[in-house]
């Protein structure tokens, strides 16, 4: 594959390349308007505006849209697009001032599209989003785990449920759903494992070795008219037509709990360090002459440790850590795998995460226990018998 070398800075070349580029762009983008629309948008013609609002909506929503779900109303789309752009940091105020009915703003939207294209590999990202997933994928990171609840199911909430028992009931329901989820998933793992081992050696790609569920289904129903075959492997479609994808972003209220936690932490640290510093200063006279040398060494060592600690969260999910979905591939136990992440490594990482999270949860529960114990202590004449057990 030879790379085409472009002569840099040749204006004639650029002039020729532009229409081609625009044509390619309108083909690549989902719901891409034609090149004529782009031209009209450049001159801010109102008839180009609705197409561009639709385009930006499709481009910005994280879920791949499908034809089954109807798009939300134009006003809702326009408002959502404005919010989404704002949350990504779109700098121009003019966008906010566009009317919500989607009748104007073609030029501004074109600018917004250009801004998105300049910031990141937008077409590639869209391609990757909409691609058919051939493999059986399992996310390696924790980013999307149980994050977005999807369209809110119909909730039967009578106004009379102002009782804490309602909350207890919901909690129990949640625990039940968790158990079901765990059981279903374990079953799915067994089935996947079977399918992988039964089809070993069938894949044309040697590094994969066996077929995935999608590929096996392709063989079973080559004419499959059902959604389950290839599309079923894709991320689920939004089943409700008016469901607008959520936009990431904290409100001012989300920073409060974090601030409280940090302040509490700072307070505890201050207490601890003051006490120890005082104790240290008191006993410093008895140190030997090698004191100053080791002192510096210790300072450096501690500095490095803390820097390493900081890297744990500053780079969290960055280059070092694996991210995104992984295609499950079954290998023989002894065989050294080529490229690929080993499940054992991921399991190890998950176990340490699990341990950490359990500590955090226990700590929170302990704090609650203390608070309630304080209240209980204020009431004489009552005996509080905590439940037995771990």
């Amino acid at each position: 594959m030879g790379r085409r070398r472009r002569r840099r800075g040749d204006p004639a070349d650029a002039a020729r390349a532009l229409p081609e580029a625009i044509a390619a762009l309108s083909q690549t983008l989902p719901a891409g308007p034609g090149p004529e629309t782009f031209r009209r948008a450049k001159f801010d013609r109102p008839e180009a505006a609705p197409a561009l609002w639709r385009l930006l909506f499709r481009v910005l929503s994280p879920q791949p849209a499908d034809s089954a779900s109807a798009a939300p109303a134009p006003e809702a789309q326009a408002r959502w697009v404005k919010s989404a752009l704002r949350s990504q940091g779109y700098p121009r105020r003019a966008l906010a001032q566009l009317p919500d009915d989607g009748s104007q703003g073609a030029r501004e939207l074109l600018l917004a599209l250009a801004w998105l294209l300049a910031r990141g590999p937008l077409p590639e990202r869209l391609l990757a989003q909409n691609r058919v997933r051939l493999g059986d994928e399992m996310p390696v990171c924790q980013c999307e785990a149980l994050a977005s609840p999807g369209p809110p199911a119909a909730r039967v909430e009578a106004d009379s449920c102002v009782d804490i028992r309602h909350l207890q009931w919901l909690m129990g329901k949640l625990r039940f759903r968790w158990r079901n989820l765990m059981a279903s998933q374990q079953e799915q793992c067994v089935l996947l494992s079977k399918i992988h081992s039964y089809t070993r050696g069938c894949h044309s790609d040697r590094s994969l070795g066996h077929l995935s569920v999608t590929e096996t289904e392709l063989l079973r129903d080559p004419e499959g008219g059902r959604q389950d075959t290839v599309l079923g492997a894709c991320p689920p479609e939004a089943s409700q037509p008016t469901f607008l994808p959520k936009i990431p972003g904290p409100g001012a209220g989300d920073l409060e709990p974090l601030a409280r936690e940090l302040l509490a932490l700072q307070e505890e640290l201050r207490e601890a360090t003051e006490a120890r510093r005082a104790a240290w200063e008191a006993g410093v006279g008895g140190r030997g002459p090698e004191w100053s040398a080791s002192r510096r060494a210790l300072q450096e060592a501690v500095g490095q440790e803390l820097a390493a600690l900081q890297r744990a969260w500053e780079q969290g999910g960055g280059l070092g850590q694996p991210h995104g979905p992984g295609r499950l591939v079954r290998t023989e136990p002894g065989v050294p795998g080529g490229l690929g992440l080993r499940a054992t490594e991921v399991i190890g990482a998950l176990r340490s995460q699990e341990a950490h999270l359990e500590v955090v949860l226990r700590r929170l529960q302990g704090r609650c226990r203390q608070e309630l114990a304080k209240l209980a202590g204020a009431l004489p004449g009552l005996i509080w018998v905590p439940p037995p057990g771990p």
Partner: protein, 432 residues
């Protein structure tokens, strides 16, 4: 008993959690259905609702949705079966001598009921070009070295059967199959449907698919290679200039940080907070044995304190950013959601491989993922519940039985994950 607003808020949080679970359960069940179906015997055209099995055009009028064969079809089938039996016997007589090795191969050939008869990929010379032309389905990908020519009438037979009724059990084609199998091995009478367990390794992806897949990989590789060409630098500078211009013509001196980036930062700080606390706990419980260790401990704690101070400042900056961002724009608070996985440096190439070596390993991996997600959710709920319930319990003055009941419920929710309850007893005055 509780303020309605509180309960509604908390119930909403719990419902969010319940909805996520439900969504994941739905996805899992869909995958389970698919997998179970694959592991069962592969009945041909199991769903009557699927498109008509494209026989060689002979039975286009046959309703695909029909599940019960008409008596006419049955009779036809019977006749054809008999004719086939006869042909097979004749053929067997002729070819008995030189086809010793064909017999076992015939067996797998016939076993795969309709899939085999509809398959044409990699089937060898015995299939005439005619049958290929008539074949409308894409190659099934069954790997067979030789298939006797007698399969031709077989196929037509089965296609009629297909059109007539391919309901569950595929009972109609069975006579044909069964009889055919009498020839090679008089012993077995049971028609073996294709199961993944037994015959899975015979599968092969169709040529069309393989070509498409390799072309796909080629194109993606081309795409990533163009990223490293010379023109990239020019493009990057142009982009940066454009972005800067956009920023300066923005109309107001907005801050550099977008709300999405703030969210990421907040997540990072939360993680930092819990790791810092963990480290602090370790240091506080450590028992220094000599002065060096003591000094080290002290330095560490002081270092941690400095970091926390930095982060508090950072948080303050973030707070001003958020407030600024909320200013000139139409909407107030945005709904909260987590951002989609960034995918690291190269999100676009095929997903990395995740290698596992046993079913148990896969199960453990999945279980741990779920457990970690569950713990995240539990911790989030715990914080939310604490925020609402603890102040309520401590504020309430009337300390009668309703308050005690509330305390008991709150204790169970907050301290035991809603699973266990404490008991409150009243001390009785000893009766004298």
């Amino acid at each position: 008993m509780l303020p309605a607003g509180s309960v509604r808020r908390l119930a909403a949080e719990l419902w969010d959690a319940l909805d996520s679970c439900a969504e994941q359960q739905r996805q899992l069940e869909r995958s389970l259905r698919v997998s179970r179906r694959l592991l069962r015997a592969w009945e041909p055209a199991e769903t009557p609702a699927s498109e008509p099995t494209p026989g060689p055009g002979a039975n286009e009028e046959a309703p695909s949705a029909a599940c019960t064969p008409s008596p006419q079809d049955l009779k036809e089938l019977e006749l054809l079966t008999q004719a086939l039996e006869k042909a097979v016997r004749v053929r067997k007589g002729i070819s008995k001598a030189g086809e010793g090795d064909k017999a076992p191969i015939l067996k797998p050939g016939s076993i795969a009921t309709s899939p085999a008869t509809r398959a044409s990929a990699r089937l060898s010379t015995s299939r005439g070009a005619g049958s290929h032309a008539a074949e409308t389905k894409p190659p099934r990908g069954m790997r067979y070295t030789r298939v006797p020519a007698k399969d031709l009438p077989q196929r037509r037979l089965l296609s009629v059967g297909d059109g007539a009724c391919m309901g569950k059990g595929a009972t109609k084609p069975e006579p044909g199959l069964r009889d055919q199998q009498i020839v090679p091995s008089a012993a077995s009478r049971a028609p073996e449907a294709f199961t993944l367990k037994d015959k899975g390794i015979l599968l092969q992806l169709p040529e069309v698919f393989r070509k498409a897949a390799s072309r796909n990989s080629c194109l993606w590789a081309q795409l990533s290679s163009t990223q490293t060409s010379d023109s990239v630098d020019a493009a990057t500078t142009a982009k940066t200039q454009f972005l800067q211009k956009m920023q300066t013509t923005s109309g107001w001196p907005g801050s550099r940080l977008s709300v999405a980036e703030v969210e990421v930062e907040v997540g990072r700080l939360q993680k930092a907070c819990s790791l810092l606390r963990l480290r602090m706990g370790e240091e506080l419980t450590a028992d220094p044995k000599d002065w060096m260790q003591e000094y080290r401990c002290l330095l560490t704690l002081e270092g941690l304190q400095a970091i926390v101070g930095q982060y508090l400042h950072r948080l303050q900056d973030l707070r001003t950013v958020v407030e600024q961002q909320l200013g000139p724009w139409p909407e107030g608070r945005l709904p909260r959601a987590s951002s989609p996985c960034a995918g690291g440096a190269d999100p676009i190439w095929s997903p990395q491989l995740l290698l596992y070596s046993s079913t148990q390993e896969l199960k453990t991996l999945a279980a741990l993922r779920l457990r970690v997600a569950m713990l995240h959710q539990q911790i989030h709920l715990e914080k939310v519940l604490m925020g609402e319930l603890l102040p309520l319990v401590s504020k309430q003055e009337p300390l009668g039985p309703p308050w005690l009941a509330l305390c008991r419920a709150v204790y169970s929710l907050l301290c035991e994950g809603g699973q266990r309850f404490l008991t409150i007893l009243r001390e009785e005055e000893p009766a004298n």
